[in-house]
Amino acid sequence: MERSEIEAKLTDLLVDELGLERDKIASEAKFEEDLEVDSLGVVELLMAIEDNFDVKIPDEDAENITTVSEAVDIIVSKLG
């Protein structure tokens, strides 16, 4: 899957699963500060990523995900 494809799919997830506004989602946007996702919301996002991209994100990786682009990076690396 191309990076741009992953970004588009992740954006859809953020809108559908977390109820975020599509036009606020930028690659450098921070989940907690910029997008007002609470800490439990980040956990839910990771679960949604696991389900929708069919990847496993271990807890130690999860700690490093604070922005949209970092989430894309992890998905890219897990999809190999």
Binding site: D38, L40, V43, E44, M47
Partner: protein, 244 residues
């Protein structure tokens, strides 16, 4: 209630009554047991003969891997667990000065570690559903203390603090977390204490008798229901007035 419920330690005593209560309210029920598969099968048959859905599942609920496997098996057979009743519990009573570390560890593992493991396993599905009920069985011993039960009382008090914390964490997602604290209920567990202890207890109970397992189960059934949607982080003491 067309939900899937898992009752740990559901084959006997209070757990059995809870399994029957939830089935009576329309839930499909997974009846967890530690050793007594015959008793669990009997509960499953009783539910099925009443037209309900149920399964028995033998698992050591203090074992992390076994708990993960249990939730997978239940989800496969009945569906996603949305009502979790942490009921499994044991006693290893002794005066503190004589209590072995093993008696401490065994009780904490079965009564408290199991609550952590099962609640964690259940939460993922509940978050996806944006609905869930976690109800854990504490005890009046965990509130008032009881000589000879330092280990048991610690585990039961721990459940209350755990539940209040978790209630705050997941409340925004439609998941409620509550505790039912039974007093002196007539079960195999309390029968081990002997009739003298039971007679002495009855004198302290405002209602003048021991409780029945179904009287605990109805409280659990209420907390699991839609009617209890605005109750979370609470400990409902069901003891006939023992702790007053």
């Amino acid at each position: 209630m067309s939900r899937v419920a898992l009752v740990t330690g559901g084959s006997r005593g209070i757990g059995r009554a809870i399994a029957m209560e939830l089935a009576g309210r329309g839930a499909a029920v997974a009846v967890n047991y530690a050793r007594n598969s015959d008793a669990a099968d009997e509960v499953v048959q009783a539910i099925q003969s009443g037209g309900g859905r149920a399964m028995a599942i033998g698992t050591d609920v203090g074992d992390a891997e076994a708990v993960t496997a249990m939730f997978s098996a239940v989800e496969e057979e009945l569906g996603r667990v949305e009502v979790l009743v942490n009921n499994a519990g044991i006693t290893r009573d002794d005066l503190m000065l004589r209590m072995s570390l093993e008696a401490w560890d065994d009780v904490i593992a079965t009564n408290l570690r199991s609550v952590f493991l099962c609640s964690k396993a259940a939460l993922r599905g509940m978050l996806r559903s944006k609905w869930g009920r976690i109800i854990s069985l504490s005890s009046v011993s965990g509130i008032a203390g009881n000589p000879g039960q330092a280990n048991y009382a610690a585990s039961k008090a721990g459940i209350i603090g755990f539940s209040r914390s978790l209630a705050k964490e997941v409340g925004s997602r439609g998941i409620t977390v509550n505790v039912v604290a039974p007093g002196f209920i007539a079960t195999d567990m309390t029968a081990e204490l002997g009739t003298d202890a039971a007679d002495a207890a009855v004198e302290q109970i405002s209602l003048g008798r021991l409780g029945r397992p179904d009287e605990i189960a109805s409280a659990v059934g209420y907390l699991a229901s839609e009617e209890a949607s605005y109750i979370t982080g609470q400990t409902l003491v069901v003891d006939g007035g023992l702790a007053l």
